[in-house]
């Protein structure tokens, strides 16, 4: 740590570690039993946080105390193992160690050997490891219980990578299973979410391993399975989007020598019909999206490729946690963030102004704070998310769902955002427009998606005229700027501001409006303050043109609250001005 403010990187806190990775992988095996060799607090947190993303699952614990850890917790582990074997009769036991046990380096393997339960797997995630390290370690250790001598089963594959707490794993597995069945290929084992111990043991029966999340996990296990059991693997194509789903399936068909790919043709025919839907290109071609996939790099790669190449959606920002994924995505997106802080993402959302954001709970919160209304949950962490076999992101149906959800989320949302009141006025009357204001409105219009442009411009036009009427002036550039800032969705604000930044010195400024004889007088003592202000700062409000004082007070207070200040001081006021670029 170097000592500058940049090191205060809280973003890592919302990133799971190798310990989560290992537990998510083991608890997905339905009839196995996972013991978290850990203090009770670690156990509760891990169990609860898994249950907010997956249906229901069990986790057991050794409930270690400080004394247990200091004096060696082998006895406790042995006791818990014996008890769960007797009471629960598991098909296998997975023991995952906690960070405190990794510090003291308990002899967990020794205990497992002493208890002698046949199918016991010990997983020791590394302190400092990332989530994929834990998943890979767990998958690799599970190879030890696989039966190498099982006979091969024709036209079967294993799906490697889905684990508990992988966003949407259930729907994606369901869709890939359906697609494989369409060409006559059966899924032998899913490693690991939803699998049974028997399926894990018999994984070597499969003819091919398919890595579902090659930018995240599973490739190491696939390589090792190739070495140990002679099973080749595919990890090149991410089956997201129509073309890549077809290529992925054709690759599997080719591997097994399946010539009849009529299923792929049928699916692609349906995809072509879908692409002809009036509501597809009409909307997606005008659309921009930000993808925040800190915990699912594979989604980031697959969805950015698909959106850009097949849906014409502009990817204005993509956030990932893998360097390899970041390099790959740079081909489709100019703004790729690698392990950004939440604040860096916030800034990028505001400056890149996406029409929709795909992301996790934090992205949702930030997008709400910044006024972005169109959001699609697509990654962890969540603080509670219910998933089913429906709504995949992968495969043919996944491609349709991605477009469907985007169009339905954004289209009507933007329409409604740009409309006036249900029974509002249609026109403010005859109000003259100054030429700069008209030019600005035209430029703004060019930045609004076509499918909503006319409606949005109507609203801006009306509000500008109403404002001018209230002030008894023409519609001026300053009024246009104020209206554009106040009455447009956040996603357009950054773009709109460029219109006014581009204006030359000769244009009218808000200051000039304020000093005009018609300007409304707003004395400082008439303003409403909802939090304490230093007198010195109140005096500074005198420098602000009268018409903007109320808004300056409310925006400054909002800024102060957002940054946890109880009082508006000179420093707070200056910081806010600086943020506004003043």
């Amino acid at each position: 740590m170097t000592g500058n403010g940049k090191d205060f990187r809280m973003q890592e806190i919302h990133t799971p570690s190798a310990f989560e990775g290992a537990l998510w992988t083991t608890t997905g095996v339905r009839d196995a039993l996972t013991i978290f060799h850990a203090p009770p607090g670690c156990y509760i947190n891990q169990h609860v946080n898994m249950l907010i993303n997956d249906w229901t699952l069990e986790l057991y614990s050794t409930n270690l105390s400080y004394a247990n850890v200091m004096q060696g917790a082998e006895d406790k582990l042995e006791e818990v193992m014996q008890k769960v074997i007797t009471k629960k009769q598991p098909k296998a036991i997975f023991i995952v160690t906690a960070p405190s046990v990794e510090v003291t380096q308990d002899d967990v393997e020794g205990v497992a050997s002493k208890v002698g339960f046949k199918d016991t797997v010990v997983i020791r995630p590394p302190i400092g490891g990332i989530v994929s390290d834990g998943k890979d370690e767990a998958l690799l250790r599970m190879l030890d219980i696989m039966e190498s001598s099982v006979p091969k089963k024709e036209r079967t594959v294993n799906l490697l990578g889905p684990t508990n707490s992988t966003f949407n794993w259930m729907a994606d597995v369901c869709e890939l299973r359906r697609m494989l069945a369409g060409i006559g290929v059966t899924v032998n084992t899913v490693m690991t979410a939803g699998a049974t111990v028997d399926e894990i043991k018999r994984a070597p029966r499969a003819g091919l391993n398919l890595c579902m999340y090659p930018y995240d996990c599973g490739v190491k296990a696939a390589q090792e399975m190739e070495k140990r059991f002679g099973i080749p693997y595919h990890d090149e194509i991410v089956p997201i989007g129509f073309e890549n789903s077809a290529r992925w399936l054709e690759q599997v068909a080719a591997f097994f020598g399946i010539e009849d790919t009529s299923f792929v043709k049928e699916e692609m025919k349906s995809a072509l019909d879908f692409a002809r839907a009036n509501m597809f290109f009409t909307v997606t071609f005008e659309m921009t999206a930000a993808l925040s996939f800190d915990n699912n790099n594979t989604y980031a790669v697959g969805i950015s490729d698909f959106f850009k190449a097949e849906a014409g959606v502009g990817i204005v920002m993509c956030s990932v946690s893998s360097e390899v994924a970041a390099e790959r995505i740079k081909k489709t997106c100019n703004e790729v963030l690698l392990n950004p802080t939440i604040e860096e993402k916030r800034d990028m959302y505001v400056s890149s102004a996406p029409m929709a954001i795909f992301g996790n709970f934090y992205d949702k919160k930030v997008s709400m704070d910044e006024g972005f209304k169109n959001f699609i949950f697509a990654d962890i962490p969540t603080i509670g998310y219910l998933s089913t076999e429906n709504c995949p992101f992968m495969g043919f149906r996944g491609a349709k769902y991605l477009v469907q959800s985007l169009v339905n989320e954004v289209y009507m949302g933007i329409f409604l955002e740009t409309k006036g009141e249900m029974e509002g006025a249609i026109s403010g009357g005859v109000v003259p427009w100054e030429i700069e204001a008209e030019q600005a409105l035209m430029k703004i219009g060019e930045m609004i998606p076509h499918f909503v442009r006319a409606t949005a411009l109507k609203k801006l036009h009306l509000v500008s005229e109403q404002t001018a009427q209230e002030r008894g002036t023409n519609v001026t550039l300053a009024i246009m700027q104020q209206v554009a800032d106040k009455f447009t969705p956040t996603k357009f604000k950054a773009k709109f501001s460029a219109v006014f930044e581009d204006r030359g010195n000769g244009d009218e400024t808000p200051d000039e409006v304020a000093s005009s004889p018609d300007g409304e007088d707003v004395p400082i003592e008439s303003l409403t303050f909802t939090m304490p202000w230093e007198d010195e700062v109140k005096d500074m409000l005198e420098q602000i043109p009268a018409p903007f004082r109320k808004v300056a007070v409310s925006n400054t207070e909002a800024y102060a609250r957002k940054h946890s200040h109880n009082t508006v001081t000179v420093e707070v006021f200056e910081a806010f001005r600086e943020e506004l670029g003043m």
Partner: protein, 411 residues
């Protein structure tokens, strides 16, 4: 020996959630990545603001060479960014294990940033059997930073449970104020107000949890505390207020309680009648100590209650005795392996348990309420609302529907 833990959460989360509700205080988690990630996600749902946790992310090299420098730097960063009045370092399991010198860090920081208060306490497996103590321990640490102030004669301090109580003690405070008593509440949502608890002449804890808090206030400021009973339900609330009235020699408070009883009694009797003849047996398993308070409310309605307590301090012992004598409540203090074992033994008709325990009740679709959402349960009206809506809340017919589907289709 339990095969799981059915407690509310890690004491670290409990502390984080409580301190996170006090403006002017920033909790700093000193621990490794999984600890920070889990506590951050876990506390997210109960924090009103400042949704990001500050932490140190102890890594392998910190384990070997010590993480004090990182910790110090992170306190500086927090101060530069947020200018808090106090930083509370939550010292989690791993730094405790490797014997980090947190106090040494605090001494050095005091020289460097004298205007900032930095305190610390140990969480995690320091409280392996009573995790709600995470709040109590963090309050006690914060109290260490309070300065002595003159006491307000005749004033009383109401000491609540967790950060959840901050700003939510009106049901108790209103009556006391009406009786003309000067009150200081703890916790409250701002550190400047929180500190004023030292001005209270006498303390009245209103839950079983703040035992350490009261002890520390006595040690530091000489304030006596009197635990009367938890003011929940009708009888419990009245007895609490009457206890205060007697001690403070305040007849007006007695009169107000008479009025309140007159107001609530008819509705209470109606609600109680709805519970009669149903053979209700409620198992309340360890939560944020509300297994005792919600249990008391339910027992007053005539429900047979079985309580697995989360703590066994002196306040609990007193409350337990009251509930045993008054309602015949059963307290289960012995270890059990799993909740399923207890259910098999007690055969409850409804269970109140933590989120992770629901995995076991849902197997057979036993009506279950998640106890962490039943907080701020003080006073008359909470009890009336809980009782009047209880059967609506537990949605018994839905459980019965699924039980019948299970009988028909198996699974």
């Amino acid at each position: 020996m339990p095969l799981k833990s059915y407690e509310h959460c890690c004491s670290t989360i409990q502390a984080l959630a409580s301190l996170g509700k006090i403006e002017g205080v920033i909790p700093l988690l000193h621990g490794p990545q999984p600890c920070l990630y889990q506590n951050q996600v876990g506390s997210m749902s109960c924090r009103p603001a400042q949704l990001l946790t500050a932490g140190t992310l102890i890594n392998k090299s910190n384990v070997i060479f010590g993480g004090e420098e990182s910790l110090k730097q992170q306190v500086r960063n927090i101060y530069a960014k947020y200018k808090p009045k106090a930083v509370v370092i939550i010292n989690t399991c791993v730094p405790q294990l490797i014997g980090e010198d947190i106090e040494g860090v605090i001494v050095e920081l005091a020289e460097e940033i004298p205007e900032l208060t930095v305190v610390t306490f140990k969480s995690g497996f320091n409280y392996p059997r009573s995790m709600p103590l995470g709040s109590d321990a963090s309050w006690a640490a914060l109290i260490d930073s309070f300065e002595v102030e003159p006491k307000v004669p005749g004033s009383i301090g109401i000491v609540g449970r967790t950060g959840q109580d901050a700003g939510n003690l009106a049901s108790i405070d209103i009556l006391l104020k009406k009786a003309g008593l000067k009150t200081f509440l703890f916790p409250v949502p701002h550190i400047d107000e929180l500190k004023k608890i030292v001005c209270a002449d006498t303390l009245y804890p209103i839950h079983i949890t703040p035992h350490l808090t009261c002890k520390r206030l006595k040690e530091r400021f000489g304030t006596e505390s009197h635990f009367i009973e938890i003011p929940v339900g009708i009888e419990g609330t009245s007895n609490f207020f009457r206890g205060v009235a007697d001690r403070e020699k305040n007849q007006k408070l007695h009169d107000l309680v008479d009025e309140e009883e007159k107001r609530v009694r008819p509705e209470f009797e109606k609600i109680k009648a709805t519970f009669q003849g149903r053979g209700m047996r409620m198992l309340l398993v360890t939560g944020p100590a509300n297994e005792v308070s919600i249990g008391k409310i339910m027992a007053e309605f005539g429900v047979e209650v079985f309580i697995v307590p989360c703590m066994k301090n002196a306040f609990y012992q007193q409350e337990k005795e009251i509930m045993q004598k008054r309602y015949g409540a059963t307290f289960i203090e012995d270890d059990f392996d799993t909740l399923e074992d207890l259910i098999e033994e007690i055969k409850p008709t409804v269970v109140s348990a933590e989120f992770q325990a629901q995995v076991e009740t849902v197997k057979t679709f036993i009506p279950t309420i998640i106890n962490m959402v039943y907080l701020c349960e003080y006073g008359y009206d909470y009890a009336l609302d809980l009782g009047a809506n209880f059967f609506k809340t537990i949605k018994q017919p839905v459980y019965e529907k699924w039980q019948s589907l299970m009988a028909q289709y198996g699974g």
